[in-house]
Amino acid sequence: MMTNADLTALLKERCPDAVRAAHSWRGDQTARINRESLVKVARTLKEDPAFQMDFLMDVTAVDYLTFGQRPPRAFFPSSGVDVAPAPEIPADTPWPGGPEKERFVVVYHFYSSSLRHRIRLHVPVEEKAAELDSLTSLWPAANWLEREVWDMYGIRFKGHPNLKRILMYEEFIGHPLRKDYPVNQRQPLAGPGAVKRSATPSAPAAHSKGSGDLETREMLLNVGPAHPAMHGIIRLVLKLQGERVKEVDVEIGYLHRGFEKMAEVVDYNGVMPYTDRLNYVSPLINNMGYSMAVEKLLGLNVPERCHYIRVIMSEISRLSDHLTCVGASAMELGAFSVFLYLIKAREFLWELVEMVTGARLTISYCRVGGVKGDLPEDFEDRCQKALEETKKVLKEADALLTRNRIFVDRMSGTGVISAQEAIAYGITGPFLRASGTPYDVRKDCPYSVYDRFDFDVPVGAKGDNLDRYYVRMEEMRQSIRIIEAALKTIPPGPVLVDPETGRPMAAAEMVDSAKIGDIPVIARAVAVTDPTLGGSARPQHLGIAVEEKRVVLPPKEDTYGNIEGLMRHFKLVMQGHGVRPPKGESYFPVEGANGELGFYVVSDGSECAYRVRVRPPCFAIMSALPRLLTGDMLADVVPTFGSVNMIGGELDR
């Protein structure tokens, strides 16, 4: 596992005048440094053999303007009744990383793939001189991340090659994630109240001068944001010489819908539906990452059975994500039947997901401290059947694609990136593994119960589109392997038993016997409220959530079934109450379908998160897209883009 070296002490030793303070809280090591020495510290982290931080995982910022004050609520204006806040859950060690006199803190997360350790840097920045040195010369990954910090917080980066807005549009005034920007102040471009759009679109300068008639001229080609050959909304401006791509400009942000801002105005459990809609093809992995970040903040560990349920459901999500990605990219190369087959398989998995969670894709199945309901009675059989169907479909798709001359020719040798370069761009997941680096969060920084399962991490050799296809196909088989192993070893859940005989009985049967006057049965029976959610028929939610009433929402059977449950529910959802983690911050990475999906949560001790930041895996891959496309042919744009598996909700948030 990870090395336990005291990195902050080491950093203090290496750069004594740079480090202002350092602490370790909930296992996260953080150093607070002076902003003048940022580049020096970053270079030490990258090059010093004791650190070897080859990944710049994330750059973000926190605006400490209103820290510790009662957060504004967007949806429910205060009723005027002041309610006493619930007691805070005591922290084992107080968090020493609170705000100082500076308004902003820029937060860097580093990871070393060889030594498997992480460090976080805090760089406090004043509001007036909000400027830092850019890290783009050390990591190309910093390019887009710094642009986002500029866009959202208005912090400048000196030496950045292209510091302009990335998620918002040029006409937008202000920086939306600053605490003094109202959450629903709109600046529309179309419709009533529209601001005027500048006449010239921001595209690189056109046509070079050609002299002769037959000479090839450079041509600008605009692809998107709504284009048939691309799934997802993104705009590529390609500069072409003949059919060669010479230069690429990528414009994103068309699906920016303020996830991070919304997470600051709803309570901790209220964020869960928003996380579903980040990577909407594999929502449970997002749910899991977020709830584990909050649980880390609270210092909770969920029960064993809950871990297994989460693992099983995440692997089902990963399967459906890879199915969609392979299907969609094959379709864009003309293999429409493969798409139909793979979506068929996804449908079987979604039926399974629906049986467990009550919804097909936006499932909100996790809760802080647990999951919403147990697995239904016949889950194992149904799951096994769905997996068999999926295996069949995978075989069919394999037969249709893997030896398909057209498919292979278009995929191989295009979109090549070396492992070293991929790491510099912060690329993780199947995309990185295809270029030969076996970094997988499930193996390298194991979380939940992943270390108990035997699975392989497939790697490619060439780092081209074909390798990415192979890696994804193999990962699906490995996911099936994990699910099957987890189903065998999952600790048993509670069963409903007849109070007189002790014989297990179904919930419906119990209700039936109660109807004919079997009073001892009805006295202990539990109301079943949600017919769409199979797991609700289980007796109680034992073993799927922590026994901490100040954190976990009661099962709906309790909320609607008895006054204690109703009160407990109220205490958790009412303004001024709710889940209240101690002041602190945590970063929790999980292996998303596209790579490392990290949630960084800052709490100020109130019922709303002070800051929720997602490290979206496909953001890093998209930022490398110009590098991937340049030099290839125009037709290669399609397979390369397909292999990125761009998911708008995750990319633009």
Partner: protein
């Protein structure tokens, strides 16, 4: 003369019906897919649910060739001018379907980035709520749209009515 007019209106109303019937079973949709709803759109279009049974099997990715605009997924302020442009490029007669809660009302993204319902920028014929709507909802919405198309008359027919 009056007899002639009556004959003509009889013919036009019959013609209207025939045109409506033909139109409703030959829907060429433009799927303007932006977000999560796109996943359910895929599901509804593929073999399990199959749009094709309703004569809407072929998506066209050019606004000039399409007559129903499916707006599938959240529309942000950055995207709104693009959507509007595509709507304007479509030839008449055209219809718009708001697919999913975000396009109907903005959903729970009540913040600086999103358009609170596409009907603030363009007319909408059918609203399909749901986050995202299940394929059955989508098929129901499609049938409602077909009813609407069938019931629409050309100008002559409307004057008569």
């Amino acid at each position: 003369m009056s007899q002639q007019l009556e004959d003509a209106s009889f013919l036009t109303s019959k013609l209207d019906e025939a045109i409506g019937w033909a139109r409703k079973y030959s829907i060429f949709q433009y799927p303007f897919v932006t977000a999560c709803c796109g996943m359910e759109y895929m599901a509804a279009a593929c073999s399990h649910y199959d749009f094709d049974r309703f004569g809407a099997g072929l998506p066209r990715f050019s606004p000039r060739q399409a007559d129903v605009l499916f707006v599938v997924g959240t529309i942000s302020h950055k995207m709104a001018p693009v959507l509007l442009r595509i709507y304007e490029q479509m030839a008449d007669p055209k219809w718009v379907v708001a697919f999913g809660v975000c396009t109907c009302t903005g959903g729970f993204y009540d913040n600086y980035a999103t358009v609170m319902g596409i009907d603030t920028i363009m007319p909408v014929d059918i609203y399909i709520p749901g986050c995202p709507p299940r394929p059955e909802y989508v098929l129901d919405g499609l049938m409602k749209l077909q009813e609407k198309i069938q019931a629409q008359h050309s100008k002559a027919g409307q004057q008569k009515a």
